[in-house]
């Protein structure tokens, strides 16, 4: 068999339409995950023993098991507990939880590189804890974890492809639907791969742009 570029071209409009679904879901997940990761980080910093113990188990669990299984847990198991979220919401929740954990771990690493003197200065000014977090720690923390965060965003984008397994009609599922009628699965999948490539290249380019802006602002 030979590769048919015409087939690839003909499927691209439908696939790029479907890619918007991945893009939209990824955007929602990233916002939720950054919020969740930040909240988890602040919570961990309060050093409440039982809470931290519970978070430690959660981290170990999320990092030690496949994302696909975590998605299954929200899609198949949660309804049994009366939590029927539907495929999209279940998938978004699963990936957002997964990503929050990786982001809070990233932040833990980033916190170690912030000079302790700054916190001391904040305390000396009698700033409330909330203000120290908001005005001193978090802005620097985000700047420091930015490269890792960009990597995490590309992982989230890739993760949205797994939602096709729980019937979300995304790029991959659209590709499979098209392929089942055209019998050209390979060309169609190449198209799907190109969609992800385009999104992730854009994410990385945006990351570099923001990073260089940040570097300019500091110099």
């Amino acid at each position: 068999m030979t590769f048919q570029f015409a087939t690839l071209l003909s499927v691209m409009p439908a696939l790029s339409q479907a890619a918007l679904v991945n893009l939209r879901l990824a955007a929602i997940i990233v916002v939720l995950a950054v919020l969740g990761g930040t909240l988890l980080t602040i919570l961990r910093a309060m050093k409440i023993r039982p809470v931290n113990a519970a978070i430690a188990v959660l981290i170990s669990f999320i990092r030690g098991t496949p994302l696909l299984i975590q998605i299954f847990l929200f899609f198949y198991v949660a309804p049994a507990f009366g939590l029927d979220l539907g495929p999209e919401t279940a998938g978004v929740t699963a990936i957002a939880l997964n990503s929050s954990i990786f982001i809070t771990e990233m932040m833990r690493g980033g916190l170690q590189s912030i000079p302790p003197g700054q916190i001391e200065a904040g305390c000396a000014l009698a700033l409330p804890r909330r203000v120290i977090w908001r005005s001193i720690v978090l802005p620097q923390l985000f700047r420091r974890i930015l490269p890792a965060l960009v990597g995490e965003i590309t992982i989230v984008v890739k993760g949205t492809a797994l939602l096709s397994v729980i019937t979300v009609v995304d790029v991959l599922r659209t590709a499979q639907q098209i392929a089942s009628s055209t019998y050209r699965p390979f060309e169609t999948l190449v198209g799907a791969a190109l969609c992800f490539l385009a999104i992730n290249l854009a994410v990385m380019a945006a990351g570099r742009l923001i990073e260089s802006r940040g570097a300019d602002a500091r110099s």
Binding site: T65, P66, I69, F72, V77, S164
Partner: protein
Amino acid sequence: MTFDPAILADYWPLFLQGAWLTVRICAVAFIVGYSIGILVALAALVPSRIVRALVGAYVGLLRSVPFIIILFLVYYGLPFAGIRFPAYVTGTLALALFASAYYAEIVRGAILSLPRGQFESARTVGMSPLQAMRHVVFPQILRGLVPPSVNMTLTMIKESAVLSSITVAELTYQSLVVQGNTFAPFEAFAAVTLIYWAITVVVARLAAILEARTGTAEREDVERNALAASFLTLEAPKRR
């Protein structure tokens, strides 16, 4: 919601088979993937621009496309090229290709982190590039390779769950079978979750032991010097 242990009592052989296949697939994918990764890393260092561009494209593509799509591309691409493998072979191959891109970056980064003079001094005495790698570069970067390689291997083990979608009868596939037969998703996925957790914990532990071993052999310089040790040897973090 209740937990019915009878389901696990009935289906444990399936889980065991699935887990065993997952372990075997990942072991083979690790060996094949790391071998490809080393070759790709070496190719990334040759002077030829064309070779370097090809390597860059290989690594870049495999890293920006979801594994599930790489898997399907291999699954439909091999018959396209006239090659027919059983699904588990296709799955292992896809997993190895996927991981090779990340292993290549790890190895390349480690090689580049070594001062260039180490390689050059080996070349000036007449060693070939491969001899210089084998006798001078690799022994020095080995220890640094362990932690990132272990992390990537754990990622690969987790990604292997996706092989269920091309009907490879590994752990995740078996959990879906049990779920379909019993309509008891909680029991099925709870069991499979714990098994994955156990596999990753065991791998991380083995790696920590390996790291400690390579440590004594390679960093004698640091360990014999108490002052340097107080700066340069950190207690290995608990990975799980």
